[in-house]
Amino acid sequence: MKTKLVLSVIFSVLFSFTAFSAKQTAIFNVSNMHGEHCKKIIEKNIAYEKGVKALTFDLTKNLVTITFDDAKTNTEKLQTALKKIGYDATLETSKTETKKK
């Protein structure tokens, strides 16, 4: 009985934390991104930006999709980070998906 109570407290605490942080996905158009070399550079640098969760690339359309925790970063910060390594990124779309757990 006691363990059940403890477990339910832990779960509710965990749940409440995840409920606060929202995962956001932003698609950037990076005009001067050409080929695998650029992809590598972006990967290596943006992966270590705070809050970034996942990165996917569409090299034919010059698109970078960044999934991030919007409590830790935002699209402007990501744009600045891309600019710092020489890439001009314009935001195409972004959508917030509140995590359901």
Binding site: E43, K44, A54, L55
Partner: protein, 722 residues
Amino acid sequence: MKAIIINITLLFSLFTLQSQIKGRVADINNQPLAGANILWLNTQIGAVADADGYFTIPASNNHNTLIITYVGYVSDTVTVTNRDEFYNIVLRDNLTLGEVSIERARLSTLKSRQAIVQTEKINSEELFKAACCNLSESFETNPSVDVSYSDAATGAKQIKLLGLSGSYVQMMTENIPNLRGIASVFGLGYIPGSWMESIQISKGTASVINGYEAITGQINVEYKKPDGDQIVHLNAFGSDAGRVETNANAAININSRLTTGVFLHYSDEFIKLDQNNDNFMDMPMIRQYNFANRWKFHSNKYEFQAFVRALSERRMGGQIDGDYHIGIDTKRYEFFVKNGFLINAEKGESMGLIISGSIHNQDAEYGHRKYEGNQDNLYANLIYATSFGEMHKLTTGASINFDKYAELLTIHTSENFPRKELAAGTFAEYTFNYNDKFIALAGARIDENSLYGTLFTPRLHLKYNASEHFQLRASVGRGFRSPNILAENNNLLASNRILNIDSNLKMEESWNYGISFLSHIDIFNRDLTISGEYYHTQFVNQVIADMDSDPHAVHFQNLDGQSYSRNAQIEANMEVLTGLTITAAHRIMDVKTTIAGVLRQKPLTSRYKSLITATYQTPLKKWQFDFTAQFNGGGRLPDPDAENPLWEKTFKPYTVLNAQITKNFKTWSVYGGSENITNFVQANAIIDVTNPNSGNFDASLVWGPLHGRKFYVGLRWSLDKY
């Protein structure tokens, strides 16, 4: 009517010929990059940006990728989809940014779709999977190349390609033949892992440009480039087998045209390792100092590269308690210079002059047997390349190679083996390219060898791209090689076998035939790569080391009868789940030689090998997990004494497992792992180990691992231009 049609086609083709791609090259601040080079990828057809950064380049029917390069800036590629579009290309400065990439593809071992000769590339990412230590360990995750110890005493490793000894592979560094003769014994240990940028393995007959050697294939090592992405790289490694290793490289931009790279390596194996308690070191203690410096100068029409290297190595092994000692001291000095002149960029006309040389000194003792070897080498190759339209390319030139050997062998009495060999030759290689659909590469060379006379070496490669997803290749060619009995069989000195060397040994000569396919299959948007190949190497003449007729001797003699190696291999590679890439390969080998009148399986050669590698990378590549399993088939040993057999006739299949975990941070990474997890070790690797001075003593009958489970950790740090 017919004439009109011809006229129209002519007009049309003229029109397409005249069509131009226009664009401009600038930096991120929109400043023009005057003098930037724009080339169609994998061709010499190009243009140079003018003072305002503008360029025009003739459109190509066969190519659609432009590569734009400018010294001090990161090269970039652009896919040309629309000829009327104006291409604004922005190159990023090397210095303002943070990080790197060397390889351009997703899968880290590549079967090249572009190369005409069947080529596998091991890039820097793949090299990281085998954490330690030098070239010999770099093939652990490659299914084509086998690496094994050549004896149980010196720690020397040898490779096998297509089931045949590494001496039939032409080793090259930066596309120049290297590590030949005496250096071939321990040569795989002379190239530290962190010096290498990539390795290319091509199987079957090779191009004629680099000489008549290369019987089963070529392995080329590219060192890190001074104008590459890496500025500083540091690496430290330690293992529970008592090996420490440190490497440091730096690349320095003197100015926009001149760069230099410095490479340092120190390694030390300082433990007298004897896991099987036979009072004989499993591995010798090895200490190596290795230094290299390279330079690169580059202007629009001329490129110059120079490289020097000095190496000193000492190996000490043998009995821990006793009077049988093994000591091998090596000093090696190397240089090369390369000059490239671009004569006409549009025609792809260029001239190259390569000069290289080395001095190699080896002073070895194996108990009472002593070997002193000295080899001086000088090599020059002049290459002229041009093209006639987009379909025809011609490469021609001349080369000379000079080797001077001075070898002194002491077994009871001393004997000198001096040898001078000069080979001068001329070659031509013609490439026919029909729309990248069908490519033929036909080459031939004629050499005059001071010891063996005139050598004619024809070679042919064909490639057919049936579709973007399916390619076929075929090759046939002849190869020659001068035998270097003492140097290449140094491992036999770690035995008390009597050496009988016939005096009339001929040059080795062979034909190699190969066919292969490469297919890409799309499965739920993932690329499954399947490749298959069959190679047959047939010797016309070979120097046979007969260890079967007498268990206490080895007899070197000319082949009398058949000798061949047949290899069939199939390989599949796929990213099966996001981040998880699996490669599986299986190879069957049939290697037979006529020994004492009987066609027999070559001893110490496995009949098959399977390899499975799995790599998992977390989505942001912060963690990487690598796993390798090698399944090696059984084979036979040289015949033991019939009445008093001291070893088995055959050896059984065995498995070797390796695993590694890497954690990447932005500028550094830390890795740890284990080799030979199942702890499988060949038993009875040294025959009569307690009596190294007896006639039975033999450390050369090695077919499996000599070293048990090993744990290691390492650290890499690099400062990159981006």
